[in-house]
């Protein structure tokens, strides 16, 4: 799956989406987009793959603080010497 999946029809839809000329309100725009995704097999597949990727990104989260930042913040919060 690649950039080619954003085919001509979807690109045209994107143009309408970006210039906002097709919808009178955000509510209508959200509906147009949702309908397009539901009806377009290309977009549906791409959306599902993106959801899977983001889900994996979330599940493999391992946040950490850089040491220099931790020391600086500790010094700031506790009034201690960071050296």
């Amino acid at each position: 799956m690649g950039i080619e999946h954003l085919d001509d029809a979807c690109r045209a839809w994107l143009e309408r989406l970006v210039d906002g000329s097709e919808a009178e309100s955000d509510e209508e725009l959200a509906r147009i987009i949702a309908e397009h995704i539901a009806e377009c097999p290309t977009c549906a597949a791409s959306e599902a793959a993106l959801s899977a990727l983001i889900d994996r990104y979330r599940r493999t989260d391992q946040p950490s603080l850089p040491e220099h930042l931790e020391r600086r913040l500790l010094a700031c919060l506790t009034g201690s010497d960071p050296s």
């Binding site: 799956m1 690649g2 950039i3 999946h5 954003l6 994107l14 143009e15 989406l17 970006v18 309100s25 955000d26 509510e27 725009l29 959200a30 987009i33 949702a34 995704i37 791409s46 959306e47 599902a48 793959a49 993106l50 899977a52 990727l53 983001i54 994996r56 990104y57 979330r58 493999t60 989260d61 946040p63 950490s64 603080l65 930042l69 931790e70 020391r71 600086r72 913040l73 500790l74 010094a75 700031c76 919060l77 506790t78 009034g79 201690s80």
Partner: protein, 208 residues
């Protein structure tokens, strides 16, 4: 003398004890707060700001604010949720002060299309860990490259898991506007991450 970063983090048995320590302005409590929530809040700040350096400033400001305003914490949510809100608000305030940048989404998509998928070699099977790091870096970059309005909407709704109502309230926009921003962010991310989407939907799911 024991440095703050060397203290025993089990000094507070639970969140309530930590909270009481914070209210008594105990330096050890501040240290525990940072150790316990700092990494997660830093990551949130990076994602919202799209820039690690700016995220450092956000985290510092948010933590100082949290410690000063600890009396305001009413305990209706967890301490982590309260901190999450402070970090988010601090980040959004900073983003609003940024000089607005006009981003041409079409141009962005075309630029992405011209970039070869250099980080993935389909002829080899790199370890799950390496693949995870590569993918993570690509996603971090793709998120950072989104316009602020789209990135904040996507991060709050799709990564942080806020409901549409909660994310819209944080951003001060309607739920419909939030949905539109998330859709637009997803479209840009589909283009930016296109070379990686197959792996994400298939065997890459179990990678750590």
């Amino acid at each position: 003398m024991v440095k703050p970063w060397e203290i025993d983090l089990t000094v507070y048995e639970d969140e309530q004890a930590l909270l009481e320590g914070l209210r008594r302005r105990e330096p050890v409590a501040c240290t525990c707060l940072l150790k316990r929530f700092g990494p997660r809040m830093y990551q949130l700040a990076i994602r919202l700001m799209g820039d690690p350096d700016e995220a450092e400033g956000v985290l510092q400001e948010a933590l100082i604010q949290a410690c000063r305003r600890i009396e305001d914490f009413e305990g209706r949510s967890g301490l982590g949720t309260w901190l999450h809100r402070i970090v988010t608000n601090t980040a959004l305030m900073r983003l609003r002060r940024r000089k607005p940048v006009t981003v041409d989404l079409h141009e962005q998509l075309q630029k992405r299309a011209a970039v070869p998928p250099a980080l993935v070699d389909a002829t080899t099977e790199p370890s799950a860990e390496v693949m995870g790091a590569e993918l993570r870096a690509m996603i971090d970059r793709a998120l950072a490259d989104l316009p602020d309005t789209l990135r904040t909407a996507f991060v709050l709704r799709e990564i942080e898991g806020l409901s549409t109502r909660e994310a819209a309230a944080e951003l001060g926009i309607s739920e419909s506007a939030l949905k539109v921003r998330v859709h637009r962010a997803r479209l840009a991310l589909r283009a930016a991450l296109a070379p990686y989407l197959d792996d994400a939907g298939a065997d890459g799911k179990e990678a750590t």
